[in-house]
């Protein structure tokens, strides 16, 4: 009896839950003119529009407001009871660069050598990674995808999570990644005396400064005859000239302060501090430096055994309250889809919902250097938006429609297709399977 009831439930649910494609139907993204009506629109930069309309045309947000004329040729999507947000931006991931964690040959985010800033993350982005649809159907439309490894491991890129070539995905900003020499003890089992650590840090810092000294010299004499082909150093020149952003990873409080001093002494104009796990310890100093930060992951354990258990949850809120401009990152690959939950935790533990939303939309866009095209719902910006059943931070909320670059992207992914196939599998179990003679009592 119970069993029959279960089957009945499944049968009833299948049509409700099936977002995915039908058996033999190929689902493609569609461009066009869309009118999203009757929605509660969170513009992020211009408040909330109750019962608003959003017009997408030719990839661009053409109009948004409470009294917007709906073009006759637009495909109307009635969003009654739903909400519209700018696509969420994760400011630190390996999306596209890593497919299966344990399989080395599917990992393309780390080059050999410590000084490889010319390595381009965008080149290695695999547009067909299964991770990408899994991520975007949760409303994350743009990610900062970063190389890692040595002290200058490469050039990161902002990518939109739709497109068939890296260039189609490119969201318009790149930046040099730098790992600042750390005074932190390193891995879990690292045991080193403070003296040894200090010495190691000093040596590493010298290496860093040598590279940047060369870059400054290179910038000065760039056009003379005797400059050798030096791609490592050449890649740093745009930072020296203020034409490209520099993202410096630093987590320990001491390291963050060292970065602030270093940036000041170098005079580089466009620098972002990333990681900032202990930013809460030195929030006022960061605020004073005016350097923006990318913090995360938020669902993380504290850096010290003696820290308050919620130090990582509270970190973005403390920095933001001190006046620091904060964007968030998951630092993840396959579960970048959890970005809204990292933001939700930050919101609950002091940042507040509005700031947390900014941290994964407009602040992120500004910090990465793509706010002219994405990060908020404004006329003229790219149509990176999603429609949800409610607050996207709330765990139970669902994303029902998704636009990236104005394309209406199908709401399917490998995980959804597996759900559709296996919720009520055909064939199901053979009754009294002889291989399984034990019947549940």
């Amino acid at each position: 009896m119970k069993r029959i009831f279960q089957i009945l439930i499944i049968a009833l649910m299948v049509p409700l839950l099936s977002f995915g494609q039908e058996d033999d139907q190929v689902m493609k993204a569609r461009a066009g003119k869309f009118a999203l009506t009757n929605a509660k629109i969170y513009t992020v930069t211009n408040g909330i529009i109750e019962n608003g309309t959003l017009i997408i045309n030719n990839g661009i947000i053409e109009a948004v407001g409470a009294n917007v004329r709906i073009p006759d040729d637009a495909e109307v999507i009635d969003c009654k009871g739903k909400e519209i947000y700018p696509g969420m931006i994760d400011s630190g991931t390996k999306v596209g660069l890593s497919e299966i964690g344990s399989i080395d040959v599917s990992q393309d985010f780390s080059e050999s050598g410590a000084l490889t800033p010319q390595m381009q993350a965008l080149t290695a982005v695999n547009p067909n990674s299964a991770v990408i649809p899994v991520t975007r159907v949760s409303g994350v439309t743009t990610v900062w995808t970063t190389p890692s490894g040595g002290f200058l491991p490469g050039t990161a890129a902002a990518i939109n999570l739709f497109g068939y070539t890296p260039d189609q995905m490119f969201a318009g900003a790149k930046g040099i990644i730098m790992n600042f020499p750390s005074t932190a003890g390193g891995g879990r089992f690292r045991r080193r005396s403070p003296e040894e650590q200090a010495k190691a840090t000093e040596r590493a810092l010298k290496q860093v400064n040598d590279a940047w000294d060369k870059a400054e010299l290179y910038a000065k004499i760039e056009n003379s005859d005797d400059v050798r082909n030096y791609p490592e150093i050449e890649a740093l020149v745009p930072v020296v000239k203020g034409e490209m952003k520099l993202f410096i990873e630093a987590n320990a409080a001491k390291d963050i302060l060292a970065v602030i001093d270093w940036v000041k002494s170098r005079g580089y104009k466009d620098v972002v501090i990333t990681g900032v796990s202990e930013g809460w310890r030195v929030a006022d100093e960061i605020a004073k430096s005016k350097l923006p930060v990318i913090a995360g992951p938020i669902q993380a354990i504290p850096t010290r055994g003696s820290d308050k258990y919620d130090a990582a949850y509270a970190n973005p809120g403390i920095m933001s309250a001190a006046g620091v401009k904060v964007a968030l990152r998951t630092g993840d690959t396959e579960n970048v889809r959890n970005l809204p939950y990292h933001a939700g935790f930050a919101a609950s533990y002091g940042m507040g919902r509005e700031e947390a939303l900014k941290a994964i939309t407009i602040n992120a866009a500004e910090i990465l250097g793509v706010s002219n095209s994405i990060g908020s719902i404004e006329v003229g910006k790219k149509a990176n938006v999603f429609i949800s059943t409610g607050d996207p931070f709330e765990t139970a909320t669902k994303i029902t429609d998704l636009f990236i670059d104005g394309y209406k992207v199908p709401m399917t992914s490998q995980q959804i297709r597996l759900f559709d196939e296996f919720l009520d599998r055909t064939p199901g179990v053979k009754k009294n399977d002889p291989a399984l003679k034990i019947i549940k009592k």
């Binding site: 080395d104 390193g186 891995g187 879990r188 089992f189 690292r190 045991r191 080193r192 005396s193 003296e195 040894e196 010495k199 190691a200 040596r203 003696s306």
Partner: protein, 566 residues
């Protein structure tokens, strides 16, 4: 030329060695070190016969290796060498509850070819309870003299090894011609520790606990089988000889105690858990964190030897440093101080709860023994309890209280003589008697401290680490051997490692050498992943004893290296 010279020196040295060997057989003593008589009388001294039992102006007569008489009214024998004990303090020599004193570390068993890691040979697994300290006892070991110098007359010494290295014996800390003469009480304990086999079963505490239970339960059964067979072999299958199980028999019959090296509070409780499960007699040694376990020790009748090693005192911040500290740092530093107090107060708190513990010297640098004892006294341990721990308690736990531990007639002449009450800062040991033999120590002026490094700085021109070293460390896949070379460029060391197994050379990074401690880092390639190994240890002459820690895994292993000849 240089080579030739070295060879010549070596030849001369060998000749000398040969001569002295002959001397053992038929020669007199041209060294002049032998005593004229083995009868001694220490007169007019303050004699602390036992903790809390003091005689003033007393005489102690030593003869034939025994304490012949003690008292204020004792006649000095004619043939005695008389030592004027005015202003001297006579104590029973101390007893060390657990160490490797006198033992020579055997070569690690190389990883067998085709090692079957789930079931390695016992020698590789470290399951050798049938071994004895006596197999490793080396009369020339300098550890004997250095522990004696700190006032110890006997030590419960155990062999080196892994899970079950063998049995421990009580040895006299004297100079003897044959190892057997050092032995006061043979094979009194089965020594065991939570030390897994590299890359083979039992690999860690999990496997060791299980293996212990298994070995013990089988030994119980086998003992019955052996006994039954011995009684009447007819109709009973012949028990197979198994040295491991036989070594457990005295433990099963409670004739022999188990000695566990358990420094942490969790290890202590694991040892007690095993004891509760199985029911053997338990001693624990090298105990460092048991301040809360007094009741547990009493309930289980555990013999306890506390480590004489103590953590370094947290540095107290002063002046500017203190001003710059955040409230948080101050709180955390305060907690460190609290815990430091627990470590240094461990002995006091256990004494207060009535545990009759001894001390063990396993992890302590011998020169720190007295300073650490004074630290424990400053932190609440009474002098009487400290002395009891060093003498009578230890003798009681080890079952040698009838023969040593007090300055009483009839006991072995194991005696320490100091120039002031021992538990005072400036006291120094003037004589030691071990088994009736006298050892003299020079009394240093008070400012003697700090002289220790003189030799080291004199040799600074000739850099102690620059050159080529042969190293050896144990990995899960067997021993790794090779050469490491250090050079000095300006003030900075550089170095590289060349492994004998054909792995690519690794450049060392972050080489730091200070105060005799050498540390560096090198990276090796593990299937495409770069893994960092941290090496840190002490350089003594041409010997380097270090630990290799693999940062990414909770793994560390000892490394030793010897500087190659010039």
């Amino acid at each position: 030329m240089k080579l030739l010279l070295t060879k010549t020196i070596r030849a001369v040295f060998l000749m000398l060695l040969t001569v002295s060997t002959i001397g053992l057989n038929a020669q007199s003593d041209p060294s002049g070190e032998s005593a004229v008589t083995r009868t001694f009388a220490i007169t007019n001294a303050t004699v602390i016969q036992a903790p809390g039992k003091e005689l003033k102006g007393a005489t102690v007569v030593i003869k034939n290796g025994l304490i012949q008489a003690v008292g204020t009214n004792v006649t000095v024998p004619k043939n005695a060498q008389v030592i004027d004990g005015k202003d001297m303090f006579v104590y029973a020599a101390f007893i060390d509850g657990l160490s490797n004193t006198g033992a020579k570390r055997p070569e690690n068993m190389p990883r067998p070819n085709n090692l079957f890691s789930p079931d390695p040979p016992n020698d590789y697994a470290g399951i050798t309870p049938e071994h004895s300290l006596l197999d490793q006892l080396d009369i020339e070991s300098n550890t004997i003299a250095s522990l004696r110098k700190e006032g110890f007359g006997v030590s419960h010494s155990v062999p080196f090894g892994r899970m079950l290295p063998g049995s421990g014996s009580i040895i006299l800390l004297g100079d003897k011609k044959h190892a057997d003469e050092l032995v006061l009480s043979k094979d009194i304990s089965m020594f065991t520790q939570f030390a897994g086999a590299p890359g083979a079963y039992p690999g860690n505490v999990l496997g060791i606990m299980a293996k212990w239970r298994n070995l013990y339960r089988n030994a119980e059964n086998n003992k019955k089988h052996y006994d039954s067979y011995a009684q009447n072999p007819s109709g009973i299958e012949r028990p197979e000889r198994d040295r491991v199980t036989e070594a457990f028999f005295p433990v099963v019959t409670k004739q022999q105690s188990v000695m566990f090296d358990v420094s942490s509070v969790l290890e202590v409780q694991r040892a007690i858990r095993l004891q509760k499960d199985l029911g053997f007699k338990l001693m624990v040694g090298n105990v460092k964190q048991a301040w809360d376990l007094g009741q547990m020790f009493k309930d289980n009748g555990t013999g306890v030897f506390l480590s004489l090693d103590l953590p370094d005192a947290p540095k107290e911040a002063k002046g500017k440093d203190l001003d710059e500290m955040t409230e948080e740092t101050k709180r955390l530093e305060a907690r460190k101080v609290d815990f430091y107090k627990k470590y240094v107060g461990q002995a006091a708190s256990l004494a207060t709860s009535g545990v009759k513990f001894g001390f063990s010297s396993l992890d302590v640098t011998s020169t720190k023994v007295k300073a650490n004892l004074l630290t424990m006294i400053e932190n609440g341990l009474s002098e009487t309890d400290a002395l009891a721990a060093l003498t009578t308690n230890a003798a009681g736990i080890l079952g040698i209280d009838k023969i040593t531990g007090t300055v009483e007639t009839g006991k072995i002449a194991n005696i320490m003589v100091s120039n002031a009450p021992y538990f005072t800062k400036d006291s120094q040991i003037k004589f030691m008697f071990v088994d009736g033999d006298k050892y003299d120590f020079e009394i240093k002026e008070k400012s003697a401290a700090g002289n220790g490094n003189r030799a080291g700085s004199a040799a600074a021109g000739n850099d102690p680490i620059v050159g080529t070293w042969s190293y050896n460390f144990e990995t899960p896949q067997g021993a790794s051997t090779g050469k490491m070379t250090f050079a000095k460029d300006g003030g900075t060391y550089t170095g590289s490692m060349t492994s004998n197994d054909g792995a690519p050379d690794a450049n060392m990074q972050e080489i730091v050498f200070a105060n005799g401690t050498l540390s560096f880092i090198f990276m090796i390639d593990a299937g495409g992943q770069s893994v960092e190994l941290v090496v840190s240890g002490t350089v003594t002459g041409n010997q380097y004893d270090a630990e290799v820690t693999v940062s990414a895994f909770n793994f560390s292993t000892p490394m030793s290296a010897t500087k190659d000849g010039q």
